[in-house]
Structures are given as C-alpha cells and as structure tokens.
C-alpha cells in the first residue's frame, strides 16, 4: 500500500501582491501593530491641536513620566508572561522610595548604600512572592495583594504620614539630569525595555519564561526549572519597582507615602494594551513599551489640550477605548486565527 506523507503543508498560494503590500499586511497582522498605530495616531492628533505638546520641555516631561509607570509595566509584564500577576508593584515602588529616604535621612546611610539596601529588600519581596506562588500554590493575585496592602501600610507607618525631607542630592541628580536633551529617567525606561527585550528574546532563561507561561506542564516535563523561572520573574518585577521608587523620590526630592498606589493598574493596562495575554506566554516587549507610551501620550495630552478637568477622565477612557476597538477591528480583518 503506497501512501503519501501527510505532513506536508499545502504550498503557498501564488501571491499577486507586491513585496511592499505584503510587508504592510505582515505588519498589520502582528499583534503589536495596533498599539503602535494607536500611539502614532494619538500623538499626531494631539500634536495638531496643542502646539506645546511636541515642545522639548513637554517631551522631557513625558520621558520622565515613562520612567515611572513604564518601568513598572516592564517588570509587571515579565510576571504576566509566566502566567502570574503582580499587584504589588505600585505600592512597592512607593515603599522603596520611603525606605531609601529613611535609610539615607533617618539612618544616615550614604545614598548608594541606601539604594542598594532597598533594592535588596525589594528582591527579597520578589523572592517571597515567587516562593509562595511556586511552593504553596498561593494565587499570585492574592499574595501580591497582601504585599500591596502591607507595603502601603508600611509606607504610612514609617513616615506616620509625613514626607521624608532632606534626601541626598544624588537622588535628584539621578532624576533631573539630561544626557543630550534626554532626561536620565527616560533612559532608565529605555534601558529597562532594552534589557528586558534582550533577556526575553535572546537568552535561554527568557525563552524558558515564555515556555513556562505558555505551558507550565510542558516546561516542567522538559526539565525547565519552573519554580526558579517564575521566581525570577517576581524578583525582576520587585527590583524594577524598587528602581522606580528611587527615581521617583529623586524627581520629587522628597519621599511621600502617597506615591505609587494605583500604578499597578496602569502598569497592567500598559501590558495588556500592548498585547500581553493575562493567561501567560504571549506578548512582546515592543508592544509593552508601546502600551506604556500610549497611556502616557493620552494622559499628558489631555493636560496639553487643556481639556476641562472634570471631563479629563471621561476623555481618557474614551480615547483608550477607541484605541482598543481599533486594534480589535484590525485583528478581525488582518489577524491570524486567534486561540
């Protein structure tokens, strides 16, 4: 009995399209396309209506803003890629700022020591999350919610509500200097994106993180140290939150306990808008960065446009909604078959 092999896929159909059209189509199909297009559109529309929007000064402000929620989004995404979630990033960033300032001002430690100490503590928090999630099977949502609450509380308890003043000038140097005309914090954002991109796409550990998020059982059976990969995601997220905390106190020149809470939602939103699936294993750094940038474009743009304060939130929501619908319609017409 002669039988032909059945695994050969059908040949590609003859395509009449020229190369450019195919490239365009390919771009339109990629899940990141929607958010990037939305970024460009939103930027263009606002710039056309608010002359100051594209001024160097305002772009610098946006750059500094991105160093906050944007960096958090990078860490958050890594956790989401493993199929988890980290609700603590905002509160932890706030606490990290307070801790650094407290070490520096109240305990008299030099700024670099205070920073390192804080980052180590943050790493410890990430380790704790990872351990609880992998060893005790605590749902990530729950354990990081606990940290969120505790961190917010600790920030209040340490300061008893009073901002910590008199931090080392090094902090504001970090935050308020420029390289060329690019503010240093914005470079931190770019750096975080670049490093995360590199780590996720170009290292074994990164690819294993995708594997763990995509199919945990398969990853485990293939001998990938699942617990270690998951834990490392939580550690990265927590350390990045620490970095944000340090940058924020530098920017404000004071450590205020009100900082950070609520940012986790924006960070998660940036990731999801950027194409990260909350089920894990899917999403890329380009999209995540674009998601964070889109949210910042909108938030800043509404101020630049002098939208009436009372309507700002509505408009912000509406623009976000429109951007997402756009992306969905794109996916419907150009997208690959969805899961």
């Amino acid at each position: 009995m002669t039988v032909q092999s059945t695994l050969t896929p059908e040949e590609a159909p003859p395509r009449g399209q020229p190369a450019a059209a195919r490239l365009l189509r390919k771009l339109a199909e990629s899940p990141e396309a929607g958010v990037i297009v939305a970024c460009v559109l939103v930027f263009a529309i606002i710039a056309a209506n608010a002359p100051t929007y594209t001024s160097v000064g305002n772009l610098q402000v946006m750059g500094r803003d991105l160093a906050q929620v944007g960096i958090l989004a990078v860490g958050e995404s890594v956790v989401i890629l493993t199929g988890g979630i980290d609700l603590s990033v905002g509160a932890l960033a706030g606490l990290a700022g307070i801790l650094t300032a407290w070490f520096n001002v109240n305990q008299g430690l030099p700024a670099p020591v205070a920073i390192v100490l804080t980052l180590v503590i943050c790493a410890g928090v990430g380790l704790w999350h990872g351990t609880m999630v992998t060893r005790l099977n605590v749902p990530p949502f729950v354990i990081t919610l606990v940290t969120y609450t505790v961190a917010q509380g600790l920030a209040l308890a340490i300061t008893t509500g009073t901002p910590i003043n008199g931090i080392d000038p090094l902090f504001s140097n970090l935050s308020q200097y420029y390289i060329g005309r690019v503010p240093v914090p914005a470079l931190f954002f770019l750096g975080a994106v670049a490093i995360a991109w590199f780590a996720l796409e170009r290292t074994y550990v990164g690819r294993q993180i995708y594997a763990v998020g995509g199919n945990r059982e398969a990853a485990r059976l293939a001998g990938i140290p699942v617990a270690r990969r998951v834990t490392s995601a939580y550690v990265s997220s927590a350390v990045l939150a620490g970095v944000v905390g340090v940058l924020v106190i530098g920017r404000m020149n004071v450590a205020d306990p009100s900082v950070g809470s609520g940012w986790e939602l924006t960070a998660i939103a940036a990731a999801v808008v950027g194409g990260v699936s909350l089920f894990g294993g899917e999403g890329r750094m380009v999209g995540i960065a674009a998601g964070a940038i889109l949210l910042e474009f909108i938030a800043n743009g509404l101020l630049a446009l002098h939208v009436n304060t009372y309507y700002q939130t509505v408009v912000q929501g509406a623009v976000l909604g429109a951007a997402i619908l756009l992306d969905r319609l794109r996916a419907r017409f150009f997208g690959r078959i969805q899961r």
């Binding site: 009995m1 002669t2 039988v3 032909q4 092999s5 059945t6 695994l7 050969t8 896929p9 059908e10 040949e11 590609a12 159909p13 390919k26 990629s30 796409e201 170009r202 290292t203 074994y204 550990v205 990164g206 690819r207 294993q208 995708y210 594997a211 998020g213 995509g214 199919n215 059982e217 398969a218 990853a219 485990r220 059976l221 293939a222 001998g223 990938i224 140290p225 294993g281 899917e282 890329r284 380009v286 690959r336 078959i337 899961r339």
Partner: protein, 540 residues
C-alpha cells in the same frame, strides 16, 4: 514476573524495585521487581487505567512515586524530578502532547536545553538552534521544508505536533526512550516511521518502552511485551508467546469479542442529507445517511474529516450547499442548533474540546443535558447526581464516585463518560471523531457495541477515524475524503483497506481554500521584527 533470561549478557538499563504509587486510597501501580535491558523494545499493554502512563511517569519523573527504588545504569533516580530523569538519559513522548503552543517549532524541539556544540551558555544561539532543530527533524525523517522550524507550534495540526514531540525526545539521544501511545494520532506513514525509530534505537543499544493500544503494532515492534492490569505486572511475554488473543486475555482477564453489526438497516428513510456542502477547507460533500446506518469517514490527516463532523454539528460555519435533517432544512448557526436538531457530537480532543478536567465527573457528564434534566429551569443536586450515576453506569465508567474530578480518570474511562453523556441527549444523529483514540481493546469493543446499539435504536452514526480496520469493522459504508472533497463512498461489501487508501491518497485537484487558511498554513511566526533567517528562504 522474573526478568527474561534470554538476555543474560545484556546490560540492565533500568532496575525497578518495589515501585508503587497510589492516588487517594487506590494503589494504581505496584511493581515488586522489573528490569529493562539494553537493546530492546519493550511493549507495554494494558486496558485503560491499568497504570501504563503512571509507570512511565515514575520513570520520567513527571509522577512522583510513593516508594521503591529505580536505578538507571547503576545510578539512583530521584523521585519526581524530570530534570534528574533527563540527566540520566530518559526521554519521554507523553500522551498529552506537551508542547508550548506559543513558541516556535525549533524552540519546542530544544525545550529546556541548548543546541549541542553551541558555546553560548546564556544567549540563545539562534542559528545553532535552527540548525539543530532541522537536523532533529531530519533524523526522524521529516524535512524542514515540511515543518518550518520558525513556525508557531499552535498553528500546526495535531499529527505534526505529535511528530515534533517525537523528534524532541529523539533528539535528546536517550538511553531509555518512553513512547506513550505515540501513534494514536498519526497516519500510517508516520506511524511506521515511529516504529522504525524504536527499532533503530534498540539496535544502537538503547531501550524503548512502547505503550500502545494497537496490539498488532506492539507485537510488530517489541522484543518483549509486558502486560499490566490494575497496576500490577500480570504477564511478561516474548514475541512468540504474545499472540493477540493471549494479550487480550491477559489484559482483561477474559475474552473479548465483538461481532460485526447487523446487515443493512431495515429503516431506509434518509435522516441526514448533505448536498454540495462546503466549508473552510471542506467540500463539496454530497452524502445521505439513513436512520440506523453507520457511515465511516476516512481520509488522510488534514483531509477534512474533523471539519465535516464539525460542519454538520454546527461548530464550523458552512459556506455553501444545503443540509437537511429528516427532510427539514437545517442551517445551524452554532452547535446549539445542532443539539436542538438532535445531533450529538464527540470531538477528537478530550482535554481541549470535551472536558472540564478539574470538575467532578458529575458536572462533566451532565453538561449537554443540563437544560433537559432541569424542571422549569431548576436543577437539584440529587437529580444531577442520579442522572450522572445513570449515565456513567450505562457506559460502565470505572470510578470511585461521581464526585471525583474527571481528570483523575484514565483516558479510556474519560472517553466512556463522554459517550455516556452523548447518548444521554438521546440524539437522532451521532457524530464521532476518533471515538476510540487512546482506548484499550476491552473498552473499544464496548464502544463498538454502544455504536451498534445506537444504530439499532435508529440513530444515524457518522464516524471519522484514522483506524481503517475500525471503520471496516463497524461501518455499513465508508465515505472517503481527499483534500476536503468527498471522493468515494464505498459499501462494506467492497470496502478494503487498499481501496480506501487509494481513494484517500489519490491525487485530487486541490480544493479551493480561503486565503486566510492557506496563508495561515504557509506562513511562519515572525519571532521578532529582526529575525534574521526567515524560513521562506528555504522554500523553493
């Protein structure tokens, strides 16, 4: 169950002593003593739930044994560690196709390890990765043009994924290769290729554990056949002793027979009528199905068998043609319409398409009849339980209680439960997609009997299957699909394997498929914008 003494000089690859495993109070595996020798293919058979997968799991580390010692080439194997097992040279192709759908073929092939000879320890050596992936596919006889290594795995059909899974295990150069029902989702060509690979590894001095429900296959490939029953080793046979009858007797502890179904159905009224039916990747199909008739659907992988079943069930939209059921026009907008028209379907993938694995059996078997068994919308727990018990009893599901999660049943028992629930909807038309995949001989015979009983009661049955013998055995007629088109309908009197295969494999004009599907099939995932060597480059 002493070790075979025809291999006195052979090195022992794996030595198992007192290995056992229990789930709850049930001991599902209990092996006082077992040795596996180098250079052998060892077949393992047993009915569903006999403990075959559990045994393989303890060896590969995916199941943590409760006690006992395992030595591989003299080194002790830590329980429950896949890493330890892998480092001792054990590789497993498991029943569940554990690939990561979001990653590329290449990354799946080298999941959890680096390309050989690559000096980069931290950074992915993408060139080496792709090179080795292509080599790995080549080693098991697949060409990299057939399976582009940059393509996302979830866009590939099931059989291709299974071959990738086999290539993945093979590429680890294992000392002990475990194949858990590797051929159940494969076509004949690839199936034969897998058997060849097993022999090749044995010839090179490795050991292969080969689990299968197709007894002819197991007998053909094995140097030694182990039979498990209720977690215990009940027979350890040499190829000469392992006749099909003997194996079945040992597996089930008795005889199993199944006679061919009654001749032509007495009722000749047409129940389902398809005219020029087309759907994405399917058609045109013209077919009449009479009440009480069992019609098989044969074809190669990807020929559209599942699509035909899905389209009739309403799960995939028809793009043209007409369907009528008992004379009335039938235009489903979703599976709900199919159910309402008296259709029950059993899809091919239990875990993905049929079950809520973590939910109790009780909840799973009542899913399609929830509405019917409730009175005025209300559904009491006692009613649900009694229905569930009735359904599971009607198909002999082996379980502790209906409250057990259905995921804890063996594959065959899950399938029986699904049959039970399909019958519970009291359908006029039964659509079966690979109804006996991963099901043991005993249960298979029972399922055949259930199918017969359905036909006798006047249901029309449409069965898609990759097992030709199964179709030849149970069907009145066999419809053959080739590239989505219905090319021939063969009566049982004229049906032979050869005739069916000729029709199925014959070169037919390519069916027009939508651009989207073609594009989907021919393109690969771009891992990122800067991916340097696109697979298009390899294609002519």
């Amino acid at each position: 169950m002493a070790a075979l003494d025809d291999a006195p000089g052979r090195a022992v690859t794996a030595r198992l002593r007192g290995v056992h495993k229990s789930y709850g109070p049930v001991r599902v595996l209990d092996l006082p003593e077992l040795d596996l020798y180098a250079g052998q293919v060892v077949g393992v058979v047993g009915e569903n739930g006999a403990g075959k997968s559990t045994l393989m799991g303890t060896l590969s580390g995916s199941v943590r044994r409760d006690g006992g010692e395992i030595e591989i080439d003299g080194s002790a194997l830590v329980p429950g560690s896949t890493e330890a097992a892998a480092s001792l040279g054990i590789a497993m192709v498991s029943q569940e196709f554990p690939l990561v759908g979001q990653l590329s073929v290449a990354e799946n092939l080298l999941l959890g390890r680096r390309p050989r000879g690559s000096r980069r320890r931290v950074l992915v050596d993408r060139a080496a990765l792709r090179r080795e992936a292509r080599e790995m596919l080549g080693e098991i006889g697949l060409s990299a043009t057939a399976i582009p290594v940059g393509r996302q795995v979830r866009t590939l059909p099931v059989p291709t994924r299974q071959m990738i899974e086999i290539a993945k295990a093979w590429g680890r150069r294992p000392k002990l290769l475990i194949l858990d029902e590797p051929t159940s989702s494969l076509g004949p060509v690839e199936g034969a290729q897998v058997l060849r690979l097993a022999r090749e590894l044995a010839a090179r001095g490795g050991t292969v554990l080969f689990i299968g429900h197709r007894l002819d296959e197991v007998r053909e490939v094995s140097d030694r056949v182990l039979v498990l029953r209720n977690g215990r080793l009940v027979a350890d046979l040499q190829p000469g002793e392992a006749s099909e009858e003997r194996l079945i007797r040992e597996m089930v502890g008795g005889e199993v027979t199944h006679s061919r179904p009654k001749d032509e159905p007495t009722d000749t009224s047409v129940l389902l009528s398809l005219r020029a039916l087309t759907a994405d990747g399917l058609g045109p199909v013209d077919l009449d199905l009479r009440a009480g008739e069992i019609v098989g659907v044969a074809g190669l992988m990807g020929s559209g068998r599942s699509r035909l079943i899905h389209t009739v069930a309403g799960a995939q939209p028809a793009t043209g043609g007409t369907m009528t059921i008992a004379g009335a026009a039938y235009r489903p907008h979703g599976p709900g319409d199919g159910t309402a028209a008296g259709i029950a379907m059993i899809p091919e993938d239990r875990k993905e398409q049929s079950l809520v694995v973590f939910a109790p059996i009780r909840a799973n078997v009542t899913i399609p009849i929830l509405r019917r068994i409730s009175s005025r919308g209300l559904l009491g727990p006692r009613r649900e339980r009694s229905e569930a018990e009735r359904i599971t009893a009607s198909v002999n599901v082996r379980m502790r209680s209906v409250d057990q999660p259905i995921g804890s049943l063996s594959g065959g028992n899950q399938q029986r439960a699904i049959f039970g629930r399909a019958f519970a909807t009291e359908p006029r038309l039964l659509l079966l997609d690979e109804p006996t995949r991963g099901v043991d001989v005993g249960a298979k015979a029972e399922i055949y009997e259930l199918i017969d009983r359905a036909a006798e009661r006047g249901m029309a049955v449409l069965v898609a299957s990759s097992e030709l013998e199964e179709l030849l055995w149970i069907c009145h007629r066999v419809a053959v699909l080739n590239h989505g088109r219905l090319v021939e309908v063969i009566d049982r009197a004229e049906a032979t394997k050869e005739r069916i295969m000729t029709a199925a494999a014959g070169t037919a004009p390519v069916v027009p498929m939508s651009d989207e599907v073609l594009e989907e099939m021919s393109e690969e995932v771009s891992e990122d914008a800067s991916q340097d060597v696109p697979e298009h480059g390899d294609a002519p």
